[in-house]
Amino acid sequence: MIHVPAPDPFTVFGLPRSLDLDERALESRYLRLSRDCHPDLHRAADTGDCIAVLQRAAEINDAWRVLRDPWQRARALLELLSPGALDRHKRLDPVFLAEALDLAEEVARADAAAAPALRARLQAALAADFAALRDAMQRGDCDAAARVCHASHYHQKALADLDAKS
């Protein structure tokens, strides 16, 4: 089960529930929200107030971690739009999984010469995953979006493994 902190990250940031957020606007919003509840600038009047400020700061940091990463943002959005969709679609197509296994082997075998082309292929696969995700979300097909989210995880992991080798 994916953990979506309550209140949801979009509400914490006062932003519309959308997959496409302007990254610069998001960052400046994060900085402003953080400053507004910074303990050095915002002297707490009493213990209760102090706890409330700390809790708000933690909420902002949690929301930032989710919103800044497009895939985590997508998962949080999916969980809001269709609770449980990610849990319901964990079973992936065996043909896709067999390909993911081949890809993992290819990453494990890749030497320094083969790495750049493989990295480019994985990045292209992730870009295609995100385009498919956006397409599914626009159609309102949360089930398809959930499957894409899970599938993309294999490409992300392969890319991380490849990067860890160099």
Partner: protein
Amino acid sequence: MAYSDKVLDHYQHPRNVGSLDKNAPDVGTGVVGAPECGDVMKLQIKVDDQGRIVDAKFKTYGCGSAIASSSLATEWLKGTHVDAAEQIKNTQIVEELSLPPVKIHCSVLAEDAIKAAIEDWRKKRAAVAGSPPNPEQQP
């Protein structure tokens, strides 16, 4: 978190790593995944006419517990009848490998892979039994 000695043994010396011909009529293939951790497990069985598993192979991309679970599964499967193999429970794998609670899903994956491989083999068998006799095999 430390891995148990049995997990480490299977991880360092995995049994039955490899592939069988997935198109062969007597081979069943199961490929399952745990998308949260990006694990994939492929388990294959070769079954004789009596329904006995004569060979088992696996390939797993995942953590040590996932590798150990599938390695152990292939060891148990070899020489076992499919009907008995179908009864293997993830809890038996958990017990044998002393898997901690956070790694139980690895054993679930292995159980799913066994079931998927047997199902694939049964489908192939039913298709062969249901198809008209092959004229080339006629005397």
